[in-house]
């Protein structure tokens, strides 16, 4: 099912963190544990989400587990946009 939020995040991850010619990724591809986004780069991904959705994600909720896939990121973002 199409999901605008997930599409935006997926496009951003592909554009910013994947090298040209890298294997395609999907909503459930492991990002952090899969080595696509490292813990340092997670900060810029968090910043993108905060800017884009006008939210503030507390550091204790910005965990590698919560950022480990586009699916999980969408859950996290919705938690704050719906709050």
């Amino acid at each position: 099912m199409a999901d605008e939020l997930k599409d935006i995040v997926l496009k951003y991850v592909i554009a910013e963190y994947l090298e040209d010619g890298a294997d395609p990724i999907t909503y459930d591809t492991p990002l952090i544990s899969g080595g696509i986004v490292d813990s340092f780069s997670m900060v810029s991904l968090k910043r993108f989400l905060e800017n884009k959705y006008k939210i503030s994600i507390p550091d204790d909720q910005a965990t590698p587990e919560a950022f480990d896939s586009v699916d999980k990121i969408a859950v996290l973002v919705r938690k704050f946009t719906q709050a």
Binding site: E16, E19, D20, G21, A22, D23, P30, L31, I32, S33, G34, G35, I36, V37, D38, S39, F40, S41, V43, S44, R47, F48, E50, N51, T63, P64, E65, D68
Partner: protein, 566 residues
Amino acid sequence: MSNIGNYDERYKTFSWEQAANELDYKPGGVINIGWYCSDRICDLGKGEKTALIWEGLGGAEKTYTYHDIRRASNTIGAFLRGLGIRPEDRVCLFMDKVPELYLGVLGILKIGAIAQPLFSAFGDESLFVRLDNAQTRAVITQRKHAPKVRKILDKLPNLEFLIIVDHDGKPLREREVAFSLEKSEPVEKIEIHPTLAESPSLLHYTSGTTGLPKGVKHVHYSLLAQYMSARWALDLRDDDIYWCTADPGWVTGTSYGVIGPWCLGVTQCVLDSGFSADAWYKFIEKHRISNWYSAPTAIRSLMKAGEEVIKKYDLSSLRALSSVGEPLNSEAVIWSERVYGKPFLDTYFQTETGSIMITNYQGMKVKPGSMGKPFPGTTAVVLDQKTFEPIPESGKIGLIALKPGWPSMMRTYWNNEETYGKKFKNGWYMTGDRASIDKEGYFWFVGRDDDIINTGGHLVSPFEVESALIEHPAVAESAVVSKPDPINMEVVKAFVTLKAGFTPSADLDLEIMNFIRKKLSPLAMPQEIEFTDALPKTRSGKIMRRILKAKEWGEEIGDTSTLEND
């Protein structure tokens, strides 16, 4: 009983001759790390023993015996030789933690070439300055990282070969070569280049406060120190299943992720995936890891993940735990003893020292938060910051210095003898770190003596980040300092003034962060950018980083008499 036994006795009686004897090395004779880490272990009758258990994404797993790594490194060495790679040519390994990285180090060393591992997350600018400085002849990489090399290929006339280890059959471009370890005919025997003690082995790049990164040149003789310290500092034993979490793009990953375990004939495991507490604990449980060498950043991340997750796994195989990269805080030592039943022991060394210099030892009293004591065969002191004489009193802070002469001491900075010379004062090698020594001889780390940023155990040069920042079209000036961080100890913070026509915004902030991440590396990316109208400068126009840093750390600003507009 630990391998080292009684530390004080060892420290008094040890000489490097003991390491040479144990390795059957005769002064003046051939010493080749590649051979020592594979062929020799097979000659000792351990060819069928597992050398490497590798696990990648999605549970992919490969296992190699010592015979396998001997043949695989022969195969890589023969392939490189076939391309025309000669002794002392620099061959860069630019890969994730795939088996070819580990085996490639041995293959390169076997033919007498110099292995130049570079962290695979480096951006094209970081990559370029290191390949350009080393005049590297070949880069071995994966398909996914090849585009970064292609971007800078035109600026690197000395780079003749871009070797891709997982080529997918698409047409290769100029200078590109495909190599598949799995599809190559295994080479049973190869003529090992007769390297001597002072023959160059590895070239690791490290950041400097000013100027470009420095290529730290090591030699094959370093083996003696890596062998001895893997035994006595890490307490590696024949029946250990060892896991070094460091990437061979950094010195720990080669000294103790390749050379240390393999010259001892130990089984080691490699996990080539990103961090998660679950994945790490699962890996320990699955492979019954007994000896674990990790880093404070990872340990603090595991602390953050909590104790519930630990209960899901059987970690009873863990026997010896060590840490490196930055000082290990006392809380982490105490926590690890409580939750794993064993404390993480802090070890201290640098890219330049090549092996562990000051450390805590199994069996020796642990003082949480302390660096431990000097390794046998080394002399470590703290020097007065003005006279550069050893400080006799305990508890007084000085500069950590080492008496040159241990086997793994760097031999020079590549093409930079002048900077190398500056590392010595009064006959001491200056580490650039500050510490005190207590009454019992334990060292206590205080901090760096320069502006270098230690983030997650990796050194970042503020100069390099500042230089990259001003290449962004919006940035007029920048100053880069460290700021405290609960997980990474320090992270990069940038103060930026903007050019006319640009205004600070959240989007510009993110754009600049990503600009640095791609150009240099994720480690160098400022985790915070502060837009400011002006930077503090001396009257001669030099940016005063220390003022900005003091503010970040809540410290006294100190003397501001030279401050412009003061």
